[in-house]
Amino acid sequence: MSADVRMQAEYAIVSLAGEIDLHSSPEARKLILTCLQDNRPTLVDLGDVAYIDSSGVASLVEGFQLARQRQLDFGLVRVSAAVLNVLKLARLDKVFPLYPSVEERIKNAG
């Protein structure tokens, strides 16, 4: 997995790519939670994620919950087909806010 965080407007954008599994999900989790702990609304870009397992999904759920607690905007953008398949299997595809792009979300936010 490769990961990158950038700022766009007031948002932190966490871009993840490759395979998110038990080996790499701790890093993804840490990046997502750190952005939220800094009180940044956060979008996780999953467009280049080829694989995600339950530990990766759990990291996204933790982010979603922390954002809700802190009343920060949180969502998933450019969700790849592989990730969407797993979110559907987990019945979480209707739980997470999903957006086609970062720009789309920022333009329509607030």
């Binding site: 395979e19 599994d21 038990l22 080996h23 694989y51 397992d53 339950s54 530990s55 999904v57 759990a58 990291s59 759920v61 933790e62 979603f64 919950q65 592989a82 398949n85 797993v86 299997l89 987990a90 019945r91 739980v95």
Partner: protein, 142 residues
């Protein structure tokens, strides 16, 4: 089992999962499963091996032996470990309407696989999990 079964033995640790998944995906495709189903099978096996790493060996050193082969009309995957023996009664999927991290792996395995069972072994010698998937039922859910 015969010589057409593929075996892979790796340390029970997170960085072994990628190779275990790759073997399952490759064999599923070779046996005629569609790409999407091969990905699902790799996910189910990933989750089973993750259970062994996290809840079986609980961070202690150990090995996972994966064997993958053809059965009549489908594919069987076996996961052998030498961790604390468990039974299907220990598998507790979380309620899906309960939003919390964790507990999803067992749900994934049950959704994806057609048959899941622990095969008998001599007492205190670990676990042998058998998972089967049939070519005429490549979707998920029952």
């Amino acid at each position: 089992m015969n010589e057409t079964w593929k075996l892979l033995q790796l340390p029970a640790q997170a960085d072994s999962l990628q190779r275990l998944r790759a073997l399952v995906r490759e064999q599923a495709l070779a046996l005629g499963f569609a790409a999407g189903c091969a990905d699902d099978l790799a996910l189910a096996v990933n989750e089973a091996c993750m259970n062994v790493i996290q809840h079986g060996y609980r961070g202690a050193e150990g090995m996972i032996e994966l064997s993958v082969g053809a059965i009549d009309g489908g594919m069987e995957i076996r996961v052998r470990d030498k961790a604390t023996p468990v039974s299907m009664d220990d598998w507790r999927p979380r309620a899906l309407d309960e939003l919390r991290p964790g507990g999803l792996g067992v749900h994934f395995i049950r959704e994806i696989m057609d048959e899941v069972a622990y095969l008998p072994l001599p007492e205190q010698s670990g676990n042998l999990l058998s998972m089967k998937k049939y070519l005429n039922n490549q979707g998920v859910g029952k």
